[in-house]
Symmetry: none
Subunit: 197 residues, 4 copies
DNA sequence: AATGAATGAGTCTTCATTCAT
DNA sequence: GATGAATGAAGACTCATTCAT
């Protein structure tokens, strides 16, 4: 699965032949089919496993029961830090989830489901914060979660996957997970204008 | 090209057969090859054309020479409005650019290049705003452009492409381009906490 | 036809596309079919035309009515000289006839027919020489004609077509038509051992 | 490879479909590509194998260290006999080598190389004979080898391949390998005029 | 558990030929 | 006479999957 994941991400799902996977794994073609029902099935299993790890990472904390704005920023920073760390350690998986390099319908659906579940987590957190009057009410929680999730996904993509291609390096490339978490949390809560005090 | 774009986006690049394209176009297989060198080449041409349109849309304004924070917000709102309108009218193209549904290496590279050029535009605008002291200096322009671009891409994806799959509808689905532009601009400048006055 | 012949010979019949021919000729694809019924038909016409020229060249003389061995050698030398000259001036045609670069059945048949007619000419000449007791009777005329024809074909091929490829240059490459005719005639009548006087 | 060779020779390289080969072989299309990289590659392998066999056949003897003219004629006769026998047993291969029925560039090159190597063998033998003063010096060895090779190629073509087409049967058709070797050797050394004693 | 040879459906691409203008 | 866009049959090659051993 490690090998398959890497190849899916590096070369794309379609461009990755089962024969490539087994070649790198050093086993025979038939062996693949002893462990996996099909090429699609291995992709599905990779995601399934990744989903669980990912949701654990973001699921842990962030469920404050009150606090100041600063508390929120700090809590978010911590969550983002954990998430970015995880992304750094599971580059291939994240790439599969965020790039979606041309998988089949069924696989794409699972990818979307995973991201959707992640986003749902944010919706709940934001909802809670609004109820606790830690956040103003001017916008729906789901919209704000969408903003947040967009931000996070985009940041990870630019941070970890922007090299190689001729595309610009987005200025995020040389950041540490920690710096990135701080910057992102600041933008999350205060926007481009930053804190106005 | 219209037909090919639609099929690429709906079924995926690989799943789209040249025979499907010509069938819907009502011409013979050979005719395709009279106009396009290969299947990849039509994808490349689609992007090339789309890139130009897209860059025109965001290239127009946003190059203020001074002004208050409110001016900035309004200018950004206008730009976003134009962009979201364009996205609404060119759903398939945007999907090709933002989803990248498993195209070949060469095509993916062009997609990335297009997005990168768009992001570069934002970098320059932000840089200008910092020079004019309209934005605080605490963060590099390229980082902020990355945030902004992430936001925009994520918003468009959730707004236009989130139906169909079982994934949640992200709360953005039923917004108009106008509403979305307003909300996004607000988040862009003030973050989750919103304006503090 | 000139252009087609050249391309058939240089690239091979199958590798030569009608579009290549018309491109070099500077006319449209359809124009080709105004003048020729098909790709095969142009090849057939080329041969037909070439056959007539070729048979004229070798048909002229060589019909002695008596004479010494020296007379025969000289007569043969003249014939070969004419033939080699013709070959030199019609390289492409000769190549088509002697190389037979993968033409279709019908074309190949015409090529064979042409060569066969040429060989028949030699059979008759040799037959005559035997009747006139200018040549010993130990071998059938047809066999000797086969030897002769083999010799001539091989010589022309090596003389005119052996460059380019990595294949050896056969030592014939830098001869003039005249030298070649002399050497060939000598071998024809006296073999490797040469004249024994 | 047997089957492919036969079909290449009977129908021509281009006219032979991979599907024809596998059909006659009784295997699936894919199986072909398990054993051969491409259609061209099987042709190349056929030649490679054939080259080795052929060069062995002519490589054996013929390297006398002195002797009379008669010795030479007999030695040559033996060599020719072996060669003609081989040709008779490997008709298809010889046809591929001598007819060159429209193969691709790469294959043609290998064919030419094979024939060239054969000719080189003759050059050396003749050179030796000249050094040993068994042959007169009036002509270069390479030229004489060209004559000889032409003779041999032409004889084989006419002997084995002249039926079928409407072309004449060249008078060689009904000879045995032995007779042919004798006649050819005679012509080789004494030419049309034959021995003058 | 593992092998790897065998399968064959699937697809892009080529190119001789046609035909409306 | 000439054009060149349109046709569509044909064929090489790929690769996920199967299966006898």
């Amino acid at each position: 699965m490690q090998i398959a994941l890497k190849q899916f991400v590096d070369a794309g799902y379609h461009a990755t032949k089962v024969s490539d996977i087994v070649a790198e794994a050093g086993v025979a073609q038939g062996t693949f089919y002893w462990y996996f029902k099909s090429k699609e099935s291995i992709a599905l299993q990779i995601i399934e496993q990744g989903r669980q790890q990912l949701l654990e990472v973001i699921g842990v904390g962030y469920r404050t029961h009150s606090g100041t704005a600063d508390d929120m920023v700090q809590a978010s920073e911590k969550l983002l830090y954990r998430l970015f760390q995880f992304a750094e350690q599971h580059t291939h998986l994240m790439r599969m989830l965020l790039d979606g390099t041309g998988f089949s319908e069924a696989v794409r659906e699972q990818i979307m489901l995973t991201r959707s579940q992640m986003e749902q987590g944010f919706v709940q957190n934001i909802q809670r914060a609004i109820e606790l009057e830690m956040l103003p009410v001017h916008t729906e929680a789901s919209v704000r979660a969408a903003f947040l999730m967009s931000l996070i996904e985009g940041v990870i993509v630019r941070w970890l996957f922007s090299s190689g291609t001729s595309a610009s390096s987005s200025g995020l490339v040389n950041h540490t997970a920690e710096q990135l978490a701080k910057e992102t949390a600041r933008f999350e809560f205060y926007g481009l204008l930053g804190r106005t005090d």
